[in-house]
């Protein structure tokens, strides 16, 4: 299976099953769609208006060389391997701790519904958090690296508990030969020097929520009294990013139908000095006025192209920055097992509510049919866990034929459920955008 496309002047060919990426000239680009169905003589005839027989013969030699090297027209040989891999006993290696189901902002697109996740306002107690870390250690098997995200709502509304849990984790990791990697996700309202100092010492990653331009950010991320939050948070985020030497953090925004020109927001964040940027499409119920519709996809794809071309230009000028969705590792990157087995929700990755209930991920919290157990008794709904365990690209008909399957791992289960009522489908708008992002990411590599 191959996928070929043109972008920013490059002719790009992806050999999907080997993961090989080839930059080719026009002769090879035009020959490839014909190559499997026609003889060389037929191809020479079909393309005689554009290329000489010698040119086609020479290009054919190179195509054969790639085929023989196992980097062109390769077959998908991974299905049985993956099925064996997925049968392995499940371990838990990451928790999303909902440290506060409360928020000091009232963002319109929040899947937590202003922090409360369709439930009650509550802060996680130290005891519940400690039990969650114990649960993680006890269920992590021989995995050494354990990840804990302090999430919300707004985690800084329960800051003392965050600090106490980090201290407890540091104590426990020594006893059990584990390594905790903590992440803090925050809207920045309560961010101060003390929080920054602690975060720089203890947090492997911080995720700072900001949407981009002031008018865009303030429209969707107001405080509860309706006032925008941009002016309050920007200087603090800039200070924190600098104090982390512009690494191990992301400014993370959401774009909606209100700002389909979101490349302007990404560039605005870059112009504010941020070098690690993630701006992602909103996932919202179709009846929300800000929800992205299928008809918006062409405009969004054009924006991705525009952004990618601008990033290539800025890199040449020494003004480069990372855009999370365009990051791609072509020299190493994850193994095929990781690429095909899904995000790990419901198995390796679980979300914990303030009162200790376990859900497959943060997006399922509050949906009672997805309650898996709690941190005291462990995972009780093993049927649900097994359903998530079997969720992978081979379980999804749409993914089997998709060239991006090794980059998105079958997509987001929560998005699939929201739009199709099952975790084994795929959110179609998300897929269209994912494919475009993969194409852009590869083009940026080609330009290096």
């Amino acid at each position: 299976m191959i996928h070929q496309y043109k972008n920013n002047g490059f002719h790009i060919v992806m050999d999907v099953n080997s993961g090989a990426i080839h930059i080719v000239d026009e002769v090879v680009y035009d020959m490839l769609p014909l190559y499997q169905e026609h003889s060389l003589e037929e191809i020479k005839t079909l393309l005689q208006d554009r290329y000489t027989a010698d040119e086609i013969g020479e290009a054919a030699g190179e195509i054969e060389e790639l085929k023989n090297a196992g980097v062109l027209f390769t077959e998908d040989i991974y299905e049985n391997y993956l099925m064996d891999f997925k049968k392995r006993p499940t371990v838990v290696k990451a928790l999303c701790l909902h440290i506060a189901h409360d928020c000091n902002l009232a963002c319109k697109y929040c899947f937590a519904e202003e922090g409360e996740y369709h439930g009650r306002r509550e802060l996680m107690s130290y005891e519940t958090g400690r039990q969650a870390l114990d649960f993680l250690i006890a269920n992590s098997g021989n995995r050494r690296n354990l990840e804990v995200d302090f999430f919300g709502g707004e985690p800084l509304m329960n800051w003392q508990v965050v600090k106490d849990l980090v201290a407890y984790g540091r104590e426990q990791e020594k006893l059990h030969d584990k390594k905790f990697r903590f992440t803090l996700t925050t809207n920045g309202v309560l961010l101060d020097d003390e929080v920054m100092e602690f975060a720089n010492r203890e947090m492997s990653n911080v995720v700072l929520s900001i949407d981009g331009r002031k008018e865009i950010h303030d429209r969707m991320r107001p405080s509860r009294n309706g006032k925008g939050s941009y002016d309050l948070i920007v200087p603090k985020f800039q200070k924190l990013a600098e104090s982390r030497k512009q690494t191990n953090y992301y400014v993370r925004g959401t774009f909606t139908r209100n700002n389909l020109d979101f490349s302007e927001d990404v560039l605005h964040l870059a112009d504010l000095g941020f070098q690690q940027i993630s701006v992602e499409p909103v996932v919202a119920a179709p009846d929300e006025p800000y929800a992205i519709r299928m008809e918006d996809v062409p405009a969004i794809c054009e924006e991705y192209d525009k952004l990618a071309a601008e990033m290539v230009k800025r890199k040449k000028e020494g003004r480069d920055f990372n855009f999370f969705h365009f990051m791609i590792d072509l020299t190493g990157g994850p193994c095929v097992a990781k690429r095909l087995s899904g995000c790990g929700s419901g198995t390796e990755y679980l979300a914990v509510t303030p009162w200790g209930d376990l859900y497959p991920c943060h997006q399922f919290v509050g949906m009672e049919q997805f309650l898996m157990g709690n941190v005291y008794d462990g995972v009780k709904n093993t049927e649900l866990r097994d359903e998530f365990k079997c969720c992978n690209v081979y379980a999804k008909e749409k993914c089997r034929k998709c060239f991006a399957k090794f980059y998105c791992s079958g997509g987001c289960a929560a998005n699939s459920y929201q739009f199709h009522g099952t975790i084994n489908d795929a959110y179609d708008i998300g897929c269209e955008l994912q494919r475009k992002r993969v194409e852009c990411a590869i083009m940026i590599k080609a330009a290096e």
Binding site: I21, H22, V24, E62, F85, R143, Y250, F324
Partner: protein, 47 residues
């Protein structure tokens, strides 16, 4: 090659040999909380 430049050297088939250790980051723990992106993640298998 005159007509083709290949950008990467490591193939996915090769990664079957010693892959699957599971030490790498969970995809939603990095920055995305609403999509699924694995192609950009770092392999932590140094064996």
């Amino acid at each position: 090659m005159k007509h083709v430049k290949t950008l990467n050297t490591k193939s996915l088939q090769e990664s079957m040999k010693k892959g699957g250790c599971g030490e790498c980051q969970t995809s939603c723990q990095s920055a995305c909380k609403t999509s699924c992106t694995v192609g950009n993640q770092t392999c932590e298998n140094n064996k």
